[in-house]
Point group: none
Chain length 305, copies 2
């Protein structure tokens, strides 16, 4: 059965990760806290006003054990508890300043451990690991919500990411050949080489430290802004990110005094075309080409500002 292999593999991973976490959790050996202490402190610190029941349910701890632990923390001045005004039986836990300091110190140690691990890895491995972790988590824990996407200016490495992610995506999805990667690498390279912050910009959409989308505006001269390299990673489609990115470009171009935005795309990229249409672009020319292997319909769209 196919399933049994998967189960076996998952079990194997669990054994491995049990060991791995065991090693990481040794970090607490130099502190006065046990792993469980740390988990509780962390939970109280990050959900102020949490009740012991919730705590014991979330962390799977014996209420008696937890009660004593909270008492200890109270005596050590790490937390405070107040009666729950809404329920005479319950109470709410808060960290004191001292508790917060301890909790942040634990966080720092924990981060340092992981950072040390990540530093031993190849440059793009941490991102892949985190992406994989997110995959697992999103499936095993449907309640977990993806962190919100943010849009920011480009940073070192981002331009390479744009080239790589788009090259891979279009090769896989449409069978384009490497000339496409060559084209975007050149476009991206020229953008950086002649970058004029006053009239040009690159936006990267990022979610939880992972890049998920990109777009850029370059100065085409003659009052025309060129919109280029719009792309949204397939893991982030359907969120309206493409529209947001395009809107951002339009707003930027208008602010900077361009009179028109133009862009070049290919008709098979339906999702992108929909975005352009809704943003008010109009198709001005179209020609068949074979620049990337398969026969394509190249299109030029413009928007007057």
């Amino acid at each position: 059965m196919l399933d049994s292999q998967l189960v076996e593999a998952a079990r194997d991973f669990n054994r491995f990760y049990t060991n791995f976490l065991g090693v990481l959790n040794r970090a607490y050996l130099n502190t006065p806290f046990t792993l469980t202490d740390a988990r509780v402190l962390f939970e109280v610190g990050s959900h102020e006003g949490i009740s012991p029941v919730t705590l014991s349910r979330d962390l799977q701890l014996d209420p008696a054990y937890l009660s004593r632990m909270l008492k200890r923390f109270r005596n050590e001045g790490l937390i405070e508890t107040r009666p729950d005004p809404a329920d005479g039986r319950g109470q709410l836990a808060f960290v004191t300043d001292k508790g917060r300091a301890a909790f942040q110190e634990l966080g720092r140690r924990s981060n340092a451990q992981i950072e040390a691990r990540f530093n031993e890895l190849a440059s793009d491995q941490p991102q892949r690991i985190v992406a994989a972790m997110r995959t697992i988590r999103s499936m095993l824990d449907p309640a977990s919500t993806a962190p919100p996407a943010i849009i920011r200016a480009h940073r070192p490495g981002d331009i390479g990411w744009i080239v790589q992610s788009q090259a891979k995506a279009y090769t896989e999805e449409y069978g384009w050949d490497m000339r496409f990667e060559g084209l975007i690498a050149e476009v991206a390279g020229r953008f950086l080489a002649n970058f004029d912050p006053a009239t040009e910009h690159c936006w990267i959409a990022e979610r939880g430290g992972l890049n998920i989308g990109s777009i850029l505006v370059t100065n085409g001269g003659d009052g025309v802004a060129k919109l280029r390299l719009l792309h949204v990673d397939k893991s982030a489609r359907g969120l309206g990110l493409g529209k947001t990115l395009v809107d951002e470009c339009v707003r930027f171009s208008r602010d900077k005094g361009y009179r028109q935005i133009s862009l070049w795309t290919n008709d098979i990229l339906h999702a992108a075309r929909g975005i352009y249409v809704r943003a008010g672009f109009r198709l001005v020319s179209e020609e068949k080409h074979r620049m990337f292997g398969p026969e394509l319909n190249g299109q030029t769209w413009v928007l007057d500002l």
Copy 2:
């Protein structure tokens, strides 16, 4: 720092997975074994003839504790130990039939737990989870970093990877600014755009599906081959990969009838310089520049073929 979000995300996953494993491990509650018992029994069962030292190292257990545990297992007829013929101090542990039965029963329970989880998921989710688990494992488990490095021609996405990994590395290590990324993106883009397989080549060093190094030869005209974009990821340094890549380029250039190879580098890249020197390159010119921010010593090296 750039990485802090990733670290945070990894820590978050670890917290989640600690809980998750905690729940799964409740499977042992109905058996006479603790989680640690089960881990040891599993390890002995799947590595017959394993020695207690190895066991205590692999599972991070106190040798005294383990010794007592093995004694208990021996008394209960679950395992047998024989003296190690190769080392009078050591011993080797084997499971008995009864032990094997117990160990398989534990495996069944464990599988059942995971199966139950998987059954609640959509049809393709288990596969994706397992794939993600493999990703994580292959990167975090040093033992599985074993696969040898291979060197191959470039494929879609590789050029973007070159740009990204080098931009990140040189920004972090030497503080170069984004103009550097622009330069290499342009170089890489032009390479692909005008790619002539008869006289040019790109090599990617890969290990276990991950890119770890690159180099390329372009036609500089006039019988001169240009060696460009040599880079080895920090996770793969010290393996002689740089040398191998350069040698490959030299051989290729000789085969293709070039009369000389030339390259441009910066003197602070000591490791690279060592490789060039050993390959027989000689320094022909040098000039200070500030192309990437900090003041650098650009150098041109050549090798007559």
